[in-house]
């Protein structure tokens, strides 16, 4: 099918559908060329009928307008944002503790020096996100390498930000 006609037919679909499938659908219509005029008419009728159906009874789900392999879609998965949230929480705890109590000496519990509850929470938050990070990388890197690398960079930035006060202040 000629590209112009393929694009025109694709415009019959609702906007959300077009944003999600439009480009690949146009490519498919162009691939379907070569069957002669009757085959093209048949394909065009099928597209008009399907587009009408999509307008009357849209595909349920609501994820239609976003490419599921885009950065914006991938970063919304819990395995992407939970590690970032954990790093940010760890950083907030640490900065809050420093603001309130400074970087004073270790707490002594039962005669033994202890780093304190905030330090333990920080360690837990940083350690617990490692399996989530690994899961995220294993699941998404093969499917969408570039956006996944972007999210991994964001996660790494959050980890470094959470670790920075510990190393800079020698905690």
């Amino acid at each position: 099918m000629k590209p112009g006609l393929a694009r025109l037919l694709t415009r019959l679909y609702p906007r959300g559908w077009r944003e999600r499938y439009g480009e690949e659908f146009v490519a498919l219509l162009e691939d379907e060329a070569g069957g002669g005029l009757l085959a093209e008419v048949r394909a065009a009728v099928n597209v008009v009928w399907s587009a009408l159906g999509e307008r009357i009874s849209p595909t349920p789900g609501g994820k239609m307008s976003r490419d599921p392999l885009s950065f914006g879609a991938i970063v919304r998965h819990p395995s992407a944002y939970v590690p970032i949230a954990m790093s940010v929480t760890a950083l907030a705890l640490l900065l809050g503790h420093i603001a309130l109590f400074g970087t004073g000496p270790e707490v002594v519990i039962n005669g033994r020096p202890d780093e304190g509850a905030v330090a333990h929470l920080w360690q837990l938050l940083m350690a617990a996100q490692l399996p989530v990070l690994a899961w995220f990388a294993i699941r998404w890197l093969p499917r969408a390498p570039r956006p996944t690398l972007g999210v991994l960079a964001l996660q790494a930035g959050a980890v470094l930000a959470a670790m920075a006060p510990v190393f800079l202040l020698g905690l």
Binding site: Y21, E23, F25, L28, R42, N46, V47, W49, S50, G61
Partner: protein
């Protein structure tokens, strides 16, 4: 010419005449699952594969209607686009659904063939 051409849904896919196309199977989502069970494919490859599988040539609109619904159900998922063509693959859940549907169809075929034997 139009006999084995499947429109958007499974409605009106069984033709009135009793020609050889009467035997074509036309449940677009199941055909897409069957095609992707053989490996990831983009739209045009799916159409050709399904035509080879059962003689049914899905229209482009029908195919993408099925793809959209299957994707929303989580039974298939997109892979990174190759130029403008996006391949899809069946998910673990999709494979389970496909196996279950095949088991039901197998039972149905056995019962149907047994009944035909009575004639």
């Amino acid at each position: 010419m139009w006999d084995n051409y499947v429109m958007r849904s499974t409605r009106n896919v069984v033709e009135e005449d009793l020609g050889p196309e009467m035997g074509h199977y036309s449940d677009p989502p199941l055909l897409v699952l069957a095609s992707l069970a053989g490996g990831p494919k983009h739209g045009h490859s799916m159409i050709e594969d399904i035509a080879g599988l059962c003689g049914t040539r899905l229209g482009p609109g029908t195919l993408y209607g099925a793809i959209a619904r299957l994707e929303q159900q989580g039974w298939i998922e997109p892979l990174p686009a190759e130029e403008r063509r996006r391949p899809y693959r069946i998910t673990g859940e999709g494979l389970r659904v496909f196996k279950a549907k095949m088991a039901t169809l197998e039972q149905f075929v056995k019962a149907g063939v047994a009944r035909l034997g009575a004639f």
